[in-house]
Symmetry: C2
């Protein structure tokens, strides 16, 4: 390990910081408050119905069914680890097990995916976050009852995964590459902590600790301990969080064990795969690919982000969390290397990651297809997780820029503006005609779907939206620096330099770059307020020139700039203000020429928002709509920024009956961009009698001048099924 | 049926024509003679070894093994139809059956694909054609011995498909949608006719007739006859050819029955699919898609070319053949409709068809991906089949233009210049880096392969190349018109107006548009010589002005022009000449704007040849190479046409050891095109320490002027693995 080998690696405990506790921040921001209310009023109740199989027309989750079945079994058997043979009919790859057609579910049987328990954990996590902002006795009572059921399903030894409890414990922790017990553990911990922090109630947290204790006994470096690690990561980041909360070193040790062991030789997953074939447990005729689960080499030797993108994002988040808590420079360096690979070569301009549906995975460097994108909502969320943890290691504006990009664009695009339907896959270009005919695009939906059998994305969106204020602020390890990463209207309380400080922020993000922060405190106190200089505001100098602190004038507060943050250090008085007005120009972006899919194309970005063109505003055949780049270069002001009220409400739904959106209205900004259209030749329509040759000698294209209307990407597909594109031809 | 509804339909027996018999045409053409010699000296011997499992390193075919096993069984059982239970282990979808790893093949068992018999039939067809041009006693003796084995495998009742003969006849003709008995019948007929025409020997032809007789008893309109039709078409065109040769109406009736029955309700394939599920013969959990086999509706109601492209091309060829022989206007109209759809919306500029690997099929209108193309060699061949048969119905230059395009480009691209390796899939754009990493491109090979387990393409190329002169000439039904469709050096003999006429053609196609035809005959005779005016020569007037007959000067011969053909009618004398010098400009082509994949791109075509850029000549990152369209429009002569000697020979082979090509030389023409390059930014290389952002604000691209070197598409991938593109960015 050497810092010199990587100029980007900056690991220093002195620069570490930690998010403000959720309950210390109140969100009043027009933009995020609306999103949080949507989740609170629409998504959380829907989720509860979904995990209780009470959504008409949606595939049952069986999540609470399974917990109840396990609880009932425990009641009969006193919660003991009842080792029984694993029934052979269960899929070793963990596909969903469902009741036979027409048969009612057996109350004693497990149904659904192996990770179905996490439906509850993700819900309780969102509930916990929601209750910090918005106490709700009825919701809390419902949650408490659910927690009672979940806890009753736990075995006496602490094990808690209903798939194995109900199907026989013989093979528990024996199929780590495909089954998801450690993933369930991770989500249980995240949910339990959120609920504890939201309500102060620790019943679920204790259960989670007991499952973590059991796991910490089972896995580890000792000779008699298992040397495996999660097939789907998340336990790493969850255990680090649990260690941070409880001060229990063993949880951090377990997280570190999972990270350090991953991808070492002999490869655990390959050995497991071989054993399962040798014993006939699986008749798969192909070998497990360890890179799918980032287990192809030790994490510190991984230079490229590969495999399933959500797994990867969760692993990298866990690595960053453990690196910070254990001050591990080599792990920081590994995180920096993977970060650079993602941000420099594998990131969509919408903040999405995962270019291929093959394995829902990262594709190779610079392969970022627009129409065939995977860009799973959960993957963008995992990138925000990773970015936040990198920020906690060292505050650098790039981390916050990417985090903001992932949050405002792909994460929010995953949910309709009425909070009732969701995208799993977030393409950057959709042509419904093609999508309905091309099996290669089978993974891409043209409109949001009501719910998924494998419902990872909706609850993931719910939990990140409900906790978004955790992404806005961190407090430095020095106890005297408060970092503002995202400009979000609201009130943040912190103890700085030993004094209770309250910052009230007014901001107009993402539509305007201006705002004000008012400091409230008792006696004058010395501390530092650090503010991110957003990458979208232009140069660091330009951004730094657009923010000032009232204490600067009389020299009480001194500014310095480092890594894209401005630090105002000195003595603060009650009523001091920090005022900012960051430039928010429209930026016409071009991808690196090595991105073949974006050759000859441009995308429009303003502030944190990436824009897109929809057919609804621009007519059909968006591939014939060209940005007039020459006109825009000659006069950047020719692109108009127009505040408007966006009206959602699906004009039509697709053939599967999906895509319905309630009539809701949201204030937004649209762009009106100088553009031209190549005319559609007569005769291309199947019904037209005119003849249009398939190939003709090149003639300069007739350019029909038009104005392209671009709306925020997160708002696409809220007005019925239609064409959409982020990149326009130039 | 009404001609008025389709202005393109021109069905008139008076305009029908028929190819000159193969032995009536001698090919001396520098271009095609070389191709035929390649097939004769390299491919046919290799094929023989392949179907006898004598190619080291290649997967065994088991073709002759199966015939021998069936013959041996017949010898024991007197060739009788031995109804025995069909073994359950055989794939209902007809996948290859192979000996278990490490075990020697059982001499009494069937191995390979259900259509493995056709390896022989395609070989004997190429052999038959080859022997007409190049008698070879040793080859003929080998073929005769093989024919003895094949005929010995035939059952007494005429049935001849070793898959069922060896596996039990209980289910013969019971899985028409997936198994290939009728496909085997079709290929057997084609091979038998070719061998009969090449040698005069009729043993195989009699066997083929007996199988056809058996089939004509089994299928048909009578109550006790089966109402099925081929899952993979070809029998239709083969039976029509057999009817034409033998004068036996029942073969034409059977072909017509297959065509008329296809896609009618109740759908035969769906009924078969349901029966097989109901009886447990298959546990497939998906339904057969009749459109895959063009059986989704009656053929006269089909308006769009859909499904497996080779199946489709063979069906349409069969429809055209039957339409001509039975003067069926409604069937001609159906052919015209499907032709228009292909040519106007589904044809690659390389003459290839089939845009998607899903089902090796036609994609939707205007979906012609370059890198993910399927464009199977066999599909281009099937398009040439279809075009030739449309020409026989009515001579129209468009049919010949497309036929020529398919022959000179994708068909020949399927074979290396040394005749030893083959493409199945013919992409229009290859980037080996991407191809090796992107599973979505898994069907695309970057270099030609030695042989395929499913070896349809190499023998298909062999049979069409060896019979290419059949595509050059037809004689009108009036007995007094000889059509020249392709300008090919050689001698053609025909009887015109009752007189024996010999045309000697000298031509320099595809590199120059000039040439001369000398007429040899006894007494002066009245007849018509018709010549195609190639679409690539510009307007019909321009092309017509570039060809003249010596009899025109004194009024003995009078010209007229119709449908892109010039007709010289009148009295011909021995020694008369027709001289032509068609313009052959370089044409910079643009696809119809509805082809999204080709937006902002141009392709270069000259005469019948489509060109492409290879990395070998132009450096890596071909997507950054732009044609300087403004310069080319301003001065078309800025594109240089350069005759040169192309040196094949692989500089390197790919990771699988494929792609080796012998050092062979061929005279060709290359294009040198004004172009510019967008520079590759520093830092995009994984090893480079420089930083290149993934997205940056748009700046006008720095254009590095270069000359792009384009070679004929058929010659690509003969100099090692490298990038290639047909379309350049503009």
């Amino acid at each position: 390990m050497s810092i010199q080998t990587n100029p980007h690696a900056v690991a220093s405990a002195a620069r570490h910081s930690k998010p403000l506790a959720l309950r210390s921040v109140t969100v009043t921001d027009a933009f995020w408050h609306a999103e949080q209310e949507l989740v609170r009023t629409a998504v959380i109740p829907f989720q509860w119905n979904a995990l209780n199989d009470n959504v008409p027309g949606a595939a049952p989750s069986y999540c609470m069914h399974n917990f109840k079945a396990a609880a009932a079994q425990n009641a009969r058997r006193n919660g003991n680890d009842d080792r029984k043979a694993y029934p052979p009919e269960f899929s070793y790859r963990g596909f969903a097990v469902l009741p036979k057609d027409g048969e009612a579910p057996d109350p004693d049987k497990f149904y659904g995916f192996v990770f179905q328990d996490t439906d509850f954990s993700k819900w309780i996590e969102a509930v916990g976050y929601s209750l910090t902002q918005h106490p709700d006795a009825e919701l809390e009572a419902t949650a408490d009852k659910a927690i009672d059921i979940v806890c009753a399903a736990q075995l006496d030894n602490g094990y808690l995964d209903t798939y194995y409890i109900l199907n026989g414990m013989d093979r528990a922790f024996h199929n780590l590459r495909w089954h998801h017990e450690l993933y369930c553990l991770g989500h249980l911990i995240e949910g339990a902590i959120a609920y504890y922090e939201g309500t102060g109630k620790d019943k679920l947290l204790k259960a989670a600790c007991r499952f973590a204790d059991y796991t910490a006994e089972y896995f580890g470096p000792k000779a008699d301990q298992c040397k495996g690690y999660p097939g789907h990561e998340i336990a790493e980041m969850a255990l680090a969080r649990l260690a941070d909360l409880t001060g229990e070193k063993k949880y951090l040790d377990l997280a570190r064990f999972f990270i350090d062991e991953r991808g070492t030789e002999p490869n655990y997953f390959l050995a497991e795969d071989k054993r399962d074939k040798d014993t006939g447990y699986t008749d798969a005729n192909w070998d497990f690919d360890p890179s799918y689960a980032q287990a192809h080499k030790p994490v510190r030797e991984q230079k490229e982000a590969v495999g399933h993108a959500v797994r990867a994002g969760y692993l990298y988040s866990g690595m960053a969390a453990v690196a910070k808590l254990s001050d591990d420079d080599s792990l920081v360096e590994a995180c920096e290397t993977l970060w650079r690979n993602i941000v420099d070569k594998k990131l969509y301009v919408t903040g999405g990651i995962g270019g291929t549906n093959n394995g829902e995975a990262f594709s190779y460097d610079y392969d970022l297809p627009n129409d065939a994108a995977y860009s799973e909502s959960c993957a963008a969320i995992s990138l925000a997780f990773f970015a936040r943890r990198m920020l906690e290691i060292a505050p650098k504006a790039e981390y916050a820029d990417v985090m903001e990009q992932a949050l405002y664009n792909t994460t929010l695009a995953g949910m309709a503006l009425d909070g009732k339907s969701f995208f799993y896959v977030n393409p950057l270009e959709v042509n419904p005609y093609a999508n309905h005919r091309d099996k290669r695009l089978g993974h891409v939906k043209t409109v949001r779907q009501k719910w998924f059998g494998c419902a990872c994305c909706p609850p993931n969106i719910a939990r990140i939206v409900e906790s978004v204020q955790e992404y806005a602020y961190t407090v430095g390890n020095d106890g005297s620096t408060l970092y503002t990463h995202l400009y979000m209207g609201g009130v943040a309380k912190a103890v700085l330099g030993g004094a209770a400080v309250e910052l009230t922020t007014n901001a107009n993000l993402p539509w305007q770059g201006d705002g004000k922060v008012v400091v409230k405190l008792g006696e004058a106190t010395t501390f530092t307020l650090a503010f991110r200089l957003p990458g979208w505001a232009g140069s660091v100098d330009a951004a730094a020139g657009a923010i000032s602190a009232s204490g600067e004038a009389d020299g009480r507060v001194v500014r310095s700039v480092r890594d894209g943050y401005v630090y105002f250090a000195g003595q603060w008085h009650d009523g001091d203000e920090v005022v900012f007005n960051f430039p928010m120009p429209v930026r016409m972006m071009k991808a690196n020429p090595m991105v073949r899919e974006d050759a000859g194309r441009v995308a429009f970005v303003r502030g944190p928002i990436t824009f897109c063109a929809e057919e609804r505003d621009n007519g059909a055949n968006l591939h014939l709509l060209h940005a007039d780049v020459a006109a825009i270069l000659a006069d950047p002001d020719s692109v108009k920024v127009v505040p408007f009220e966006f009206h959602a409400g699906a004009a039509g739904i697709d053939a599967d009956g999906q895509g319905e959106v309630d009539d809701v209205e949201r204030d937004m900004v649209r762009l009106e961009v100088p553009a031209w259209r190549e005319p559609v030749p007569a005769g291309t329509d199947a019904e037209s009698p005119a003849f249009a040759p398939l190939y003709a000698e090149y003639r300069p294209v007739r350019r029909e001048p038009v104005t392209a209307t671009l709306i925020p990407y997160f708002a696409w597909a809220n007005r019925g099924e239609n064409e959409m594109t982020v990149f326009l031809h130039d």
